[in-house]
Symmetry: C2
Subunit: 429 residues, 2 copies
């Protein structure tokens, strides 16, 4: 038998096109490294007439993905169509047919990963999804293998290139959110409908996948609290900079001593010296604290045709090397525990908030009273005259419970002298 | 047969003690993740009376390492004694006896890695050495597996914690090298005899190991040009800062179009916005450019008991997972090519150099003439009056050949009006 592994590719858009490019262009080195040839056998797409980022005419089989996952000549299915359906059915069928599956699809893994892994185990095959989280950054492999000796206490990720690009530009240029978003759309760094990126859903999928591996439990992505960056104005960025902070949209996973796990996605004001603070533009990074390794960070391109395809092909090569030995890869067990997500009201943080107030005697006293009543202890206050009777108040609290902060804010909103609550941003990592 | 893998540990100093700590303290989670128990079976040390960083009394067998590598009950040998001998003989014997080997020993791998891998292949076992380079950072695994689809064009590493700590403190405090070194020695961040770290040998070992994997060829570490940080004064750091640069000791590996590879270790003035510029204190990081992934960086603790042991135990877990399946791990092939190292005289760079001169008419003209004669094109010159007739001249060149720069500098040294050449530092990455 010739040493060759046959790949069936579903989807030939951005990521799929990158997979074709790498498999054809770098075939010789890939075969030398993996010890066996990796052959792009067949490609199916949704629409035969669409223009492809890479020439695949010779491999295009048609549009019947189901026929591909049922084709006995195919060893590995690479799924790059994204979305929940029909990806779910195709992956399940492929696994049941004894095929290894590599996917770049965060949504289907976040929603059905546990189910897939169960089927894969029953059929002695593997499911790989390095490309589903943070594109070219080998964070899943790192967590599953290299850091496997550690109990992970914390992960913090910048895992969305679009929002990180927007926040970087706002920081560098002092521009407003809407201006930079429009510019990002023109440059192709943001979708025409950017809501998945901007509002944080995208990052919530990724966090649920990473947290599952890091904390040895599966989590429902619906249990993850998330906020996007729509509420971050140029003024917030400006104030943060003066305070020595950088604002980033982060995904946080943190183990509690009681066995529960905090999972949340929201903007944070982080110290400008934190390793994540220097992660700019469309780059992503994941910061990890392990019981033995201490602090590590993985940095790289979180998206893009070739970086994401690089991760997909890396997974296929791992399968190829193991198939040569006649075994499937012995995946590390990652969901042997059952952990709860800490409700957002119970988390603790320092908070930054900014108010517009009427500059009258007793305003600060009323705000301070509302905080005190809710058990929110204030660390610093800055009041600044604007024009006429209006003034701006910026408050940073000590570490308090989220529920207390929300209670204080509700009371502050009701004060006659407070005309607007502009932002509430968690401070520190 | 019970699912258990038996580890024989050679050496119980800093790293060995960390391995004992992790294997005993985290045994349950390690077994759950790896799917089999990893048992610390026997430990041998050089000196039975020495104090250990972690209690191993119950496991201490004695001082006969050769008996351990010949013990048929041991599955995996973990070698943490460091140095070329007797590590070489012990590793070779273990591999020949059909035992997998995990080592944290950069020197023995840099000098004999190819020989070991050959023996390992012949005996169907594996050799792992993640901990030998950059401690807890999973850079070897990342290059061998996750990034395997890429042809690597460049690696740049900050891979020595001692020198990075010293350069960070010099930058932050404006202190001189000798002052900070003494402080680092007091804090335990530098050895009593720091020459291996300071002079660059340590990093040259690590670069030869990484480059072997990245560029698919084995390299002799003797072929690597290296300079340490002894020549970096507080004045150089100060000037660099004003120019928007940070000085770091880096290891550079860069593929040339003609198939040769640049391998060199020396201080560099890098742009303060480069991701490596923010890697401070004892932290390490390795920056990689791959043909598909683009730019990635792995960041973490480059040394220390637990971080290094975390990498060792990660390797042992990988062996354990594969042994369960009855196979050794199919290592990626990494030395299927034979590449030459580019002689240092042929590299190209911008250069910074600083001179003390006599402030007389014609001084600059003479320096510029010497540069012109050697084909060194000058990008910027700054002359600064000190006291009396003395002045300081700071020159940055355009990109020129190293041999040309050295020729120019030799001519400059001979000028009557030049009283000292203080530093020559390569600029840019």
């Amino acid at each position: 038998m010739e040493d060759v592994i046959k790949v069936g590719l579903i989807g030939c858009g951005n990521v799929g096109g990158g997979v074709v490019k790498i498999l054809l262009e770098n075939a010789e080195n890939i075969a030398l490294r993996a010890g066996c040839r990796i052959e792009l056998a067949k490609v199916v797409v949704r629409n035969m007439d669409k223009q492809r980022p890479y020439e695949v005419a010779g491999y295009l089989l048609g549009t019947d993905a189901l026929a591909l996952v049922n084709d006995p000549s195919i060893d590995v299915i690479v799924e790059t169509i994204g979305g929940e359906n029909p990806a779910r059915e195709l992956i399940m069928t492929a696994l049941r047919n004894g095929k290894h599956v590599v996917t770049a699809n965060k949504e289907v893994i976040a929603k059905h990963g546990s189910e897939f892994l169960q089927i894969a185990r029953e059929h002695g095959v593997n499911l790989y999804y390095e490309a589903a989280v943070a594109g070219g950054i080998p964070i899943i492999h790192g967590l599953k293998n290299s850091l496997a000796a550690n109990n992970i206490s914390k992960i913090v990720g910048i895992m969305n290139g679009t929002t990180n690009y927007i926040l970087t530009k706002m920081y560098q240029e002092g521009a407003e959110f809407a201006t930079v978003l429009a510019e990002a759309q023109k440059l192709g760094f943001a979708e025409a409908d950017p809501s998945d990126d901007i509002e944080g859903d995208d990052v919530a999928y990724k966090l649920s996948i990473l947290a599952g591996i890091a904390f040895n439990s599966s989590f429902k992505y619906e249990d993850i609290y998330f906020e996007g960056i729509e509420g971050i104005s140029a003024r917030e960025i400006e104030v943060a900079r003066k305070l020595g902070f950088v604002i980033k949209l982060v995904a946080i996973g943190q183990a509690h001593a009681d066995g529960r796990v905090e999972l949340r996605v929201h903007p944070v004001m982080m110290d400008e010296w934190h390793p994540l603070a220097g992660v700019n533009n469309v780059f992503n990074a994941v910061f990890i604290e392990g019981s033995y390794v201490g602090q590590t960070m993985f940095y790289g391109p979180g998206a893009g045709m070739c970086p994401t395809a690089s991760a997909v092909v890396g997974d296929v090569m791992d399968i190829a090397m193991h198939r040569k030995l006649g075994v499937s890869h012995p995946s590390i067990h990652t969901n042997f525990q059952k952990k709860e997500v800490v409700p957002i009201g119970e988390i603790q943080s320092e908070y930054y908030f900014r108010l517009s107030v009427t500059d009258k005697p007793g305003v600060l006293a009323a705000i301070a009273h509302a905080c005190g009543e809710a058990m929110v202890s204030i660390k610093s206050v800055e009041q600044k005259q604007s024009k006429g009777e209006a003034a701006e108040v910026i408050i940073i609290t000590h570490t308090v419970r989220e529920s207390a902060m929300q209670k204080a804010l509700a009371a502050i909103r009701k004060l006659d002298t407070v005309s607007a609550v502009h932002a509430l941003i968690r401070v520190g990592l």
